[in-house]
Point group: C2
Chain length 224, copies 2
DNA sequence: ATTTAATGATAGTATTACTATCATGCCAAA
DNA sequence: TTTGGCATGATAGTAATACTATCATTAAAT
């Protein structure tokens, strides 16, 4: 069966790779819908089991807990963004163009043609915006980092930092600027939706266009 | 009894203002210590009750749940930062100097002389860095925002946006830049402590000095 | 035809996040 | 000095959560 692209994620993220089985893919598909509906706090495996007409026990065979499931989803998302950046910069030689494309893909990943039938990239992007920072703001961050659970995100930030280096080799804050692009991309959209006094981005059809323009403006001014 | 400064916070944050009573102040004092120790996820009112040798029921008389307590603590912190910015900019006429002072206070608030006997500002800053974004990344954000629960933070961001306007009246992204200063300040310190590949700030004695320098560099380059 | 792996069905347990009720003790007005 | 009221403490109870364990069933692989 054709189910689309498949990413090789760190094995500590799951007990059994959900991309490999029908039930696993159903868990991913429906958890994205349910986490969006309920928020990660009210979401639990009992509700998910009911939704997919399976059992809690079966879900636990894939993920130890909902934190791991969220970590899996965010890792999948960052792998996907990295894939898009690779794809769309491979024919570009000018670092400035590469950086523009990277920013475009970070902001607009979810509007690309979907690659994977059981992942709703738009809903997943909403989860990233609202919940992704919770995956590393935990007491277990150091152990999990040691076990490589944040590698997808760290590699992606490193990739963007490298492109920044191409634009301005003397710039001393490439990692911070790179990670800040991601934070800004998530937060400013969230603020436009829920706390509009905290942003200049208006909540409307063209929010992402405005956001991309703003981030480009910031980044290229800083790198000048 | 002298207990230091007292902020008038939105009444919906609590059932009974903890700043008014001995037990209330003990709740604030010890919750800051315990949230730091355990993280907000493992922290609960039962453990706090044990620590202050009181009961769960008594704590519930002040706060509906730990989310409200955290919201109270973060609001207190932002009120305090605003107080510091007001205090230290009131004799400055040059907007650039005002902005420098604002950035300094945002990054270094916790190193100021403590004003309130029962609040450990250093520990509270650590809570802000690690937990504060969780207070608005919830399903109830819109209702709580409507009830004014985020006013302290929104007013503070507006204040910084106003100073930015003074520096460059034509700059079109003052709110986004202002909120981003806060996000960057929290995240980059957190990354330096836990995910060093995501930042150029080294985790050391002078992290905050470096961070202040970096944020100033970013901000003034953007505003040029 | 038999083994094996995946899933389902069911039950149980410790902890969490409260809510309710009543007792106690202290301060302050009458 | 008594009385009333308010803050806190003590205790109990409940529904939901986050698992863990066990055994049965089914489907695919050899």
């Amino acid at each position: 069966m054709v189910v689309g692209i498949r990413f090789q994620l760190n094995e500590s993220l799951f007990n059994k790779d959900p991309q490999d089985t029908e039930l696993g893919r159903k868990i991913l598909e429906q958890s994205i819908i349910l986490i969006n509906e309920l928020g990660i706090e009210s979401f639990n495996f009992k509700k998910l089991a009911a939704k997919i007409e399976s059992t809690e026990a079966s879900i636990y065979r894939y993920f130890d807990n909902k934190h791991m499931l969220l970590l899996f989803l965010t890792s999948w998302y960052w792998e996907w963004v990295e894939y898009l950046i690779d794809l769309n910069t491979k024919n570009l030689n000018n670092p400035k163009d590469q950086l523009k494309v990277a920013i475009h893909n970070i902001v607009n990943a979810s509007t690309e043609n979907p690659l994977t039938s059981y992942i709703n990239e738009n809903l997943l992007h909403q989860i990233i915006i609202k919940e992704s920072s919770k995956v590393y703001h935990t007491t277990s961050v150091d152990i999990e980092n040691k076990n490589g659970l944040f590698l997808s995100f760290k590699d992606l930030v490193s990739k963007v930092a490298k492109i920044i280096e191409g634009v301005n080799p003397k710039f001393p804050y490439k990692r911070s600027l790179a990670s800040n692009i991601f934070e800004m991309s998530n937060n400013q959209i969230y603020f436009s939706q829920h706390l509009p006094r905290l942003t200049d981005i208006k909540h409307c059809d063209k929010s992402k266009i405005d956001l991309e323009e703003m981030i480009s403006y910031f980044v290229f001014k800083i790198l000048k």
